[in-house]
Amino acid sequence: MISAFSMLSNILLLSTILWMTPAMAADALVTGSYQNSECISCHEKDNSLLISEWRSGSHGKAAVDCVACHGTDHQQSTVRARENHSCNQCHGGEEGSVSHSYSTSKHGIIVRLEAAEYDRSKPLTAENYRAPSCAFCHFFGGHHNVSQSMSQKKSAADDQEARQQMRWVCRQCHAPRYIRELETNGRKMLALGEMKLLEAAAVVELARSEFPAEQLTQIEMLYHTMQSETIKALRVGIAHQSPDYQWWHGHPALDGKLLRIKGALTDLRRKRALVKTQ
């Protein structure tokens, strides 16, 4: 069932690429400067799928509109959205974990070194680009639903579909077994990180049950960072194939937060025991 579905979606994706090609070229011929409402009113007639894809993804839902990525100059609009810095401006900047895990990965390095040779007016296919940019993977074939290939926070069925889509992107260059092995290992690596988070959560629960909130600032801050930043660094390290983020910003960083949470609880308990004697 899944493989029949994946074949179908692959065919759909391919036909989208082929169908998008002339449209892209035509886009560059339109001159002038446009605002979001103008983009939508025109493209709803010309390519309503594009607009509905955008609306159903997280960008559409969060009001990240056309000009945020494409700018207002119609002639530059496609090229601009294919540049990585269009994404970085919101996704944590160049030094943030999302962008930096990619830009130090082999994909990111190749793109950095060969950027000058790439003609970004060309569609996002392996024929045209040696290594993937942000848009290559997350808007593969020019679809506009950025969430459709993200496997995070989804129902099991949607997750399967998202993974299948991303595998197809990888398949442009990599062998099926290689993709499968790296994905499997990545999922296990992330699951281990989540176990560290669970271990920390249990300690935080203990602390909350034993001490009033005003004594828990340090523990809560450590846990919050672990939950929001450290596990994210690991996840993007895995997704973007950055050993540095998988390791130094990921697993040992989780270890450090976990042991400090345990240390903070130990301290509170030691002080409590002493206070009781006095």
């Binding site: 070194l113 990599h174 300690v203 450090g256 042991l259 030691r270």
Partner: protein
């Protein structure tokens, strides 16, 4: 008559030396790799990072194919890599009409494919391979010994293998050539540029990328590098500023260890030993491609001073830490934290390890916060300052030392606090605090203990 013990010693040596060799040989024969190979099994994905030990061919397709047939089929199966190959030196038709096809490195039999190792590349690139192998005689750190270094580390063996796959991605620089020359373009020009190194040489303990890009060399590269002719060899006159490879692999020599003085910063060395003085003159000669020799010597002396100062701070922190350890004031104490699963000595006679020679390099988990503070001071702040000094990024030196100073103050205050707390507990509770099972239990801790 000669005393009997001479004969006994000789006889023992005759037995023990071969037995030692046999034991080391046996220890490498398990399911894993390296000295602890009997104690672990690889994750299947690790075959791509250590192909010599773990790679197994796909068996989904049968048959033998010529290079042209590989290219024909893979143009649709994996078009990206075929494109890469077409633009590579391998696809260029030589004078005798030959090309280097897929099958020359991967083999012809689709059920018995090879993942190319450095030995495969050596069939044609023998000089580069010989230079690379030659690194081994300089010991660690080196590219050629990187994989051994990873799998022979106890904390590699101790941790779940899916977790430490992250380690061997970089340490695979020893086991395949595409870490620097990405597949399937395998371009020398790419490897000459600093970015080729930074997938591994980045991050807290080795910010080679950040320190280089912050230096005058790196700034010039970032401003103008895109227009330099990268097809030229890395030698005097060809480049306006040096890159990683220009200095560390001068003239394209595939060898990063022969000028290595500071050994990655992880152990203290004497820069004025006779061997290091000879190496230093090699650096001065290299710097002299652009700078005056005396000026270069002065810069290098500046680094000596920086390192001396840094080690002074590290020894001070170590001294502070050894006192709560000997007075049993660390909490958790060595016996109250999970032992490293494969370390039976540690399990039987628990002892907190402090500093490089006691194995602090692996002590970033299962330790008390004050020990982790020292680990971070030593591994992140100190090594960041070292890289800043080596690459000419003064702000990293300043920042690294400021962070070390702050860490030192914190460690000192924490040690005093631990002592006061411990003494109060002895006075009022009559015993040291028992953390019970807090450090020995938990989702990950239990998995790591039971499954390794």
């Amino acid at each position: 008559m000669r005393p009997r013990y001479i004969y006994i010693t000789l006889l023992l040596l005759l037995v023990l030396i071969p037995a030692g060799y046999y034991y080391v040989d046996w220890s490498k024969g398990g399911m894993g790799a390296g000295l602890y190979s009997h104690q672990w099994q690889p994750e299947s994905g690790q075959q791509y990072w250590y192909p010599d030990a773990f790679y197994k061919s796909v068996d989904s397709m049968s048959g033998e194919f010529t290079g042209e047939q590989c290219v024909q089929c893979h143009s649709s199966v994996t078009p990206g890599i075929v494109n890469d190959w077409r633009k590579s030196g391998h696809a260029k038709v030589a004078a005798d009409g030959s090309q280097v096809f897929c099958s020359d490195c991967h083999g012809n039999n689709h059920q018995n494919l090879k993942m190319p190792t450095p030995d495969v590349c050596a069939k044609c690139h023998s000089q580069q391979h010989a230079d690379f192998q030659d690194e081994k005689r300089y010991g660690f750190p080196s590219h050629a010994l990187a994989m051994e270094r990873a799998v022979d580390a106890k904390h590699f063996v101790d941790k779940p293998k899916a977790e430490v796959t992250s380690c061997i991605q970089c340490h695979s620089v020893a086991t395949k050539c595409d870490s620097c020359h990405t597949r399937h373009r395998f371009s020398a020009a790419e490897a000459r540029r600093p970015e080729a190194c930074i997938t591994c040489h980045s991050g807290p303990p080795h910010p080679d990328d950040a320190t280089y890009f912050a230096s005058a060399h790196g700034k010039l590269y970032q401003k103008e590098g895109a227009s330099w002719d990268w097809s030229k060899p890395l030698k005097k006159g060809n480049y306006p500023a040096p890159t990683c490879a220009y200095c560390h692999m001068g003239e394209g020599k595939h060898q990063v260890a022969d000028k290595s003085i500071w050994k990655f910063g992880i152990r203290q060395i004497n820069p004025l030993s006779s061997g290091n003085v000879v190496k230093r003159e090699k650096w001065v000669k290299l710097c002299s491609d652009c700078h005056e020799a005396d000026w270069s010597r002065q810069q290098l002396r500046g680094m000596d001073a920086e390192r001396k100062q840094a080690w002074g701070k590290l020894y001070k922190a170590e001294g502070i830490l050894k006192s709560p350890r000997s007075d049993n004031l660390l909490s958790p104490a060595a016996g109250e934290r999970p032992p490293y699963p494969n370390d039976w000595v540690d399990a039987r006679w628990p002892r907190a390890r402090i500093g490089f020679f006691e194995g602090q390099a692996s002590a970033f988990y299962n330790v008390s916060p004050i020990e982790r503070d020292y680990f971070e001071m030593w591994y992140f702040d100190n090594l960041g300052a070292y890289k800043g000094a080596a690459h000419g990024a003064a702000n990293f030196v300043t920042k690294g030392h400021q962070n070390m100073d702050r860490a030192l103050i914190d460690i000192e205050a924490e040690a005093v606090r631990l002592r006061n707390l411990g003494e109060a507990e002895r006075a009022y509770l009559g015993d040291r605090y028992d953390p019970n099972k807090l450090w020995l239990s938990g989702e990950y801790t239990e998995l790591n203990r039971e499954q390794n």
